[in-house]
């Protein structure tokens, strides 16, 4: 079966005053219907930029996107704005980090949802309004008919994100891109939103890309994981396998910096020292090399000079010069 979304060698570059930012540098991944892929990375790792590029929401004047984004057999890179407006909101929907700023303060919630349905389904005003109320009801907003007439500022943070999800769902999209959907929310509300996303995936068979920097969210909500660093995929695979036995030093670092409920509560968390490289002029070698504790395992200055390719084996990929069997048997540090 062909995957629903197939991204190949995606590169996104945009010009700023100081030069050219290489935000995404050859990203490839596949996503199948009904699955959730978590894309994980630090701020500036290119995870949001890559997803905005899927929908063509980047600033076209400043940004150059190359590579291939095939969605259900259609090529999206280089597609006209006209073609993209037909896909956006209908077959691919997106929800954003901060629902307060992402929803229009000037229009009521019901109208914002109905608008999308009218646009894509050509429904009448009345039918679209009814549909908006159903969508709000589906995402668990009480008294949906009355709340549809409220404005976003009259909602709580969790309710706003629910409304945002209702807006994304109203046309029953095949793919939902959720860009840090729980970052701006309380922990208790986070879990509710993740549950909601999972139930939607199971009910409609929607594929979900979950962009996050929270590994706890990943473990809870996703089946597959893709770890990004400096605009590249450094490790991918099934969530369980990757989190249990990470192969890339960066993934190990991320895990070591995340608190766990199992094991020693007093164990110290370790930060990944240093900062990500400037994307203005990416280094020729492994971008993680300056922060890596394992470069001693590699002969010569391979890490500094040669970019490690992403090698895939048995459904798992890792972009590191250290061959993984040897890497995983080595003691930490």
């Amino acid at each position: 079966m062909n995957p629903l979304l197939s991204v190949r060698d995606l590169r996104v570059r945009f010009s700023v005053d100081d030069g050219t930012v290489h935000a995404v540098n050859g990203l490839s991944f596949d996503l199948e219907t009904g699955r959730t892929l978590a894309i994980v990375g630090e701020s500036g790792s290119g995870k949001s930029v890559a997803n905005l590029a899927v929908l063509g929401l980047h600033d076209r004047r400043r940004t150059e996107v190359t590579g291939s984004i095939r969605f259900d057999g259609t090529e999206l890179t280089g597609a006209s704005e006209r073609e993209l407006t037909r896909v956006r909101g209908d077959r691919i929907a997106m929800i954003f980090q901060d629902p307060l700023t992402a929803l229009s303060p000037y229009h009521n919630v019901g109208a914002q949802i109905a608008e999308s349905y009218r646009r894509h389904r050509g429904a009448s005003r009345r039918a679209a309004a009814k549909r908006a109320v159903e969508a709000l009801d589906r995402v668990g907003i009480p008294q949906a008919a009355a709340r549809a007439r409220s404005h976003p500022h009259e909602f709580s943070g969790g309710m706003r994100q629910r409304a945002m999800i209702a807006m994304a769902l109203v046309c029953e999209p095949d793919l939902l891109i959720a860009d840090e959907p729980t970052t701006a929310l309380d922990v208790t509300v986070q879990a509710q939103i993740l549950d909601l996303l999972a139930s939607i995936r199971d009910e409609y068979g929607t594929a979900i890309i979950l962009v996050t920097h929270d590994l706890g969210v990943v473990a809870e909500a996703a089946q597959d994981i893709l770890v990004m660093y400096a605009g590249r995929c450094v490790e991918n695979g099934p969530v369980r396998d990757v989190l249990d036995e990470p192969r890339h030093p960066y993934t190990r670092g991320l895990l070591a910096s995340t608190p766990r409920l199992t094991g020693d509560v007093h164990a110290e968390l370790t930060a990944v020292e240093g900062v990500p490289p400037s994307l203005l002029g990416p280094p020729s070698g492994c971008p993680f090399e300056p922060r890596c504790h394992y470069t001693g395992l590699v002969e010569g200055d391979l890490c500094r000079t040669v970019l490690p390719p992403l090698l895939t084996e048995g459904g798992r990929g890792s972009a590191c010069h250290i061959p993984h069997p040897r890497f995983t048997t080595e003691k930490d540090r």
Binding site: D90, S104, H153
Partner: protein, 325 residues
């Protein structure tokens, strides 16, 4: 909405009364003697004393203030003249009630302000939107350059040149002047066209720049990106979402400008010899016509208060967040 208006109007009245009291104190603390001005060129000490008594200037300052305030409500007699309510005082120079003169002058200023506002809102706002829509292209650069050049076009300079070239030399435009629109609509329009255009140049420049920058900022907002992510076509995103976010700041700016314009465009009225409030203010200052100057001050204060209330009401219509708070 009704409670909102009632609250704002009552606080507006309170502000006006405060302004009256302060201006009153300020003017009567000045060394010019109103009775001396009223008395005229040939003035004996007896005539001066009679004038002072007639005008009530021999009373204590507080009594005079009380007379002024009660005159607003009930009318009063000043000397042998009756000044009907609402009485804003009596001008010693023009020998007429202040209110009559204001009523005569205000239509001129109102016409000037309204006409030029239409021009700079449409041209400036439109150019700003176009520049934002085609940011970085020649449209944007053209609008920005024109706006920069326009900011330097001071009325006392451009106005005089335009008068000379377009009216005196070539007769391309009719001579500026005031005709009541009730008497002759075409003459009213012809007489104001050049002042409208000249006065609106600087404002057009400001509004182009302001609309452009606000629009560019709004286009970068998250909710505009959401509208795009929903598959809304560019026109909908631009007008329904971004332009709406731009309207509120532009209206706020316009509220202040409208109030200033309604208080009289002093230079424009002087250059084109239009008998408006601005010209009246200049003449009153020159002649030390204190009651008239006080009337002009009140017109300016009222314009500012009314403009503020209208702006706030518009704000509530545009932005539902204002309605609830």
């Amino acid at each position: 909405m009704f409670a909102f208006l009632a609250r704002r109007i009552s606080s507006g009245v309170l502000i006006l009364v405060t302004i009256i009291v302060v201006t009153f104190g300020l003017f009567y603390a000045l060394p010019r003697d109103p009775a001396r001005l009223f008395c005229g060129k040939i003035c004996t000490p007896e005539m001066l004393a009679a004038a002072r008594r007639n005008l009530g200037l021999d009373e204590a300052l507080l009594t005079q203030l009380w007379q002024y305030l009660s005159g607003l409500v009930a009318g009063r007699d000043i000397g042998d003249v009756h000044c009907a309510a609402p009485c804003l005082g009596y001008s010693y120079i023009t020998q007429r009630p202040v209110l009559d003169v204001l009523f005569e002058r205000f239509p001129v200023t109102l016409s000037l302000a309204a006409g030029s506002s239409v021009i700079f809102l449409v041209v400036g706002g439109g150019a700003g939107l176009l520049a934002a829509r085609f940011r970085g292209t020649w449209v944007d650069k053209g609008a920005t350059s024109f706006s920069l050049a326009g900011s330097a076009m001071q009325v006392y300079f451009v106005g005089v040149i335009a008068l000379y070239l377009l009216v005196d030399q070539s007769q391309l435009m009719s001579r500026p002047g005031w005709t009541s629109p009730l008497d002759d609509l075409a003459a009213w329009f012809g007489g104001l066209l050049l002042p409208w255009i000249i006065l609106s140049i600087i404002f057009t420049a400001t509004y182009t720049r302001f609309t452009r920058s606000t629009m560019v900022e709004t286009l970068g907002e998250d909710f505009v990106r959401t509208a795009r992510a929903k598959g809304m076509p560019g026109r909908t995103v631009f007008f329904k979402y971004a332009a709406r976010g731009t309207a509120a700041p532009v209206i706020t700016l316009f509220g202040i400008d409208a109030a200033v314009l309604l208080s009289g465009a002093v230079i424009t009225e002087t250059v084109f010899n239009l008998p408006g409030i601005g010209k009246l203010a200049v003449d009153s200052v020159t002649n030390a016509d204190l009651p008239m100057l006080m009337g002009v001050t009140l017109v300016a204060a009222t314009a500012m208060i009314v403009a503020n209330i209208v702006v706030d009401a518009c704000y509530a219509l545009i932005d539902p967040r204002v309605r609830t708070s």
